[in-house]
């Protein structure tokens, strides 16, 4: 069974249940949107899927990715990609350094360099290898962040309001690019957003959490 499957997942603080029990199946190429008011536990749900849920939050349930139970794996073995509303490019690394950090395929240095250059060119960022992330525009930074996730060859992608900090024009472009890339690679994806346009563009089923 391929795709991302959540089985009776709950997220709680102490005795108070924030999310769930949630049963959900995301097929390859599908983007499921999660809607809910602030503080409803949407980001906590994503943190649980990543395996980085901070105390005092705790969660239960099973997460299957392409049929494997990943619920108890350390984050680095889950093969999940995540994009936040901040791009979180490592400020001490160049653009190429950031991409190389995530790149999984190819081990020899020259091949890795070529893959990164080709990928940058494909995203309209040819020649950006040695740039300092701090000097890029918001849209450029978003592209590099997306590319970093894609080069790490994830099996599913989580989107935590990744477009909300962008200005309206850039926002549309980046959203279209991101969704097209996810579809082209047949990646299952979960999108957390407040924006109706995001949800419409995602086109997949909508799940509501919290009492909204």
């Amino acid at each position: 069974m391929s795709g991302l499957v959540l089985q009776s997942v709950t997220v709680s603080v102490g005795a108070r249940q924030l999310v769930g029990p949630l049963d959900l199946s995301v097929t390859p190429g599908q983007v499921v949107s999660i809607l809910g008011p602030s503080g409803a536990g949407k980001s906590s749900l994503l943190a649980f899927l990543c395996g980085v849920l901070p105390p005092p939050l705790h969660a239960q349930g099973t997460v299957l990715l392409n049929g494997d139970n990943i619920s108890n794996l350390p984050p680095e073995q889950r093969r999940l990609g995540i994009l936040f509303q901040d791009d979180l490019l490592f400020p001490h690394l160049s653009v190429a350094g950031n991409l190389a950090f995530g790149l999984r395929s190819a081990s020899n240095r020259r091949d890795r360099g070529r893959i990164i250059s080709d990928a940058l060119a494909g995203f309209g960022l040819a020649g950006y290898e040695t740039r300092d992330p701090a000097t890029l525009s918001g849209g450029e930074r978003s592209r590099v962040a997306l590319l970093r996730v894609l080069l790490s060859a994830p099996r599913a992608v989580l989107l935590d309001e990744p477009f909300s900090r962008l200005d309206p024009a850039t926002r549309q472009t980046i959203r279209a690019l991101t969704l097209a890339q996810l579809r082209a690679r047949s990646l299952p994806a979960l999108l957390v957003s407040h924006d109706v346009d995001d949800v419409v563009a995602a086109g997949g089923p909508v799940v509501r959490v919290g009492n909204a």
Partner: protein, 543 residues
Amino acid sequence: MKFLAVWVLLLSALLPVVAGLAGTVQLDTAAWSELFKTPGLVQSLTLSVWTGSVASVLALALAHVVLAAAVTGGWSGRLRAASLPLLATPHLAVGIGLTLVLAPSGLLLRFLSPWATGFTQPPDWATIQDPLGLALILGLVIKEAPFLLLALFAALGQVPAERLVLQTRTLGYGRLKGWLVAVAPLLQRQIRLPVAAVLVFGMTNVEMALPLGPRTPPPLALVLWQWFTSADLDMRPLAMAGSVLLMLASLGMLGLFMLAGRLVGRVWRFSAGSGRRVTSASGGLMPGGLAVVVGTLGLASIIALLLRSIAGPWRFPAVLPEHLDPAAWSSAASVLPGVAGLTLALGATTALLAVLLVLAAAEPLRSDAVLRQRVAMLLFVPLLIPQMSFLFGLQILLLKLRLDGTLAAVVWSHLVFALPYVWGLLAEARASLDPRFTDTARLLGAGRLRVWLTVTAPLLLRSTLLGLALAFGVSVAVYLPTLFAGGGRVATLATSAAAAMTAGDMRYAAAHGAAQALLPLTAFVAAVVLGRVVFRRRLGVPG
């Protein structure tokens, strides 16, 4: 298991203190009754309380007023940059330097003579070691005001100061009053530990009291120091009882300060409700002037050290010596490299250990502000107890274990005083790193160790370098820990400068004091420059 590193850190800091206190605090009734028969004891204790508390209040008030003027006047960056070197300079070096500035034959009167004062001979004034301890108070303020300023700067990160001041200004208050009403109380709450440390140090230090403090009688700490270092071993029980008395007095003053703080807070809130608007166009001038005076005196004392150490004949009203004569350096050349080298090695070892201990313990506490604050309070305990009160007991313990005079014992004693500062800087820097950086890195496929090495460590590099410089500076500065843990046999720049000072060899004292001041300054400059150079093309790296 997860908190192993935290326990190691706490034990490293507190074990010597607890063991030392247990060794010092003894119920020797004979010693106590003899202590109370000591002539001048009450005066000595009064002097300690007076100098320590007045200096603390002045330093705190100065720090608040200058910070208010600097932030609202837009010169806080320069103020911060100017405070760092003063913080880095050892108390002892500033103290010795200040005697060379303030003494009747010092730089200050030379500048004013004879054109303003008419003096052609140094006047017979007690401008240092004065009976009221004013020179000592001035010296303490020069050193502690920058320290409290930097503590306030650190607290500023958690207070929306600019918006609060803007709010009060739109309500019609001048910027100084607006700051003092709306921002200062929020900051004050966060710097209680540093203020307590300043008070206890002010009441119980030897480093400043030795060059600047009164002599007839001296403050209690100086009396105890004379007893502890006396060749007459019968003085030891007396000194131990005295150091317990000093500890009780400083704990009592701490309690009094806490009560006074509450009272001031109440009056403050009451007066804030009066609605009286105070606006003055020159609000920044007076605090700015005070900051310049304090900074200039600090700088002048270092220059005086350098000048005195290389001065040849130097008749009174002349501002500069007739010719330079580096005799002090050449006569010191046979011992100085060894002493400076040992100081350097002790400092480097202390710095490395302090940073490693703190980084390891900060990792599991990175998202727990409450526990971090508790650790900070525990690490501050050694700074809230007079150094002598546990160092002498520690010396006895080390003697029994045959560890006295070993470099390991000296490093450990330095570590006790470096850890609270390094923790304050580095644990907070670790906590303020966005956890999503490391989450992202792990999801990209990197394991814990690789994430720490390739993401956490580089992003903490600048703070780590500053932490190293800070711990190094503490190690170079401390005097009593070296004296006691070293069993009097480990010679650093601090102990050599103090010995020369006691022997009255000002030239030799100035040479060692100058070297002692230059080492930590160099370390700070190196830390800042290196941190800038490494990431000069990466603008987004946290400062």
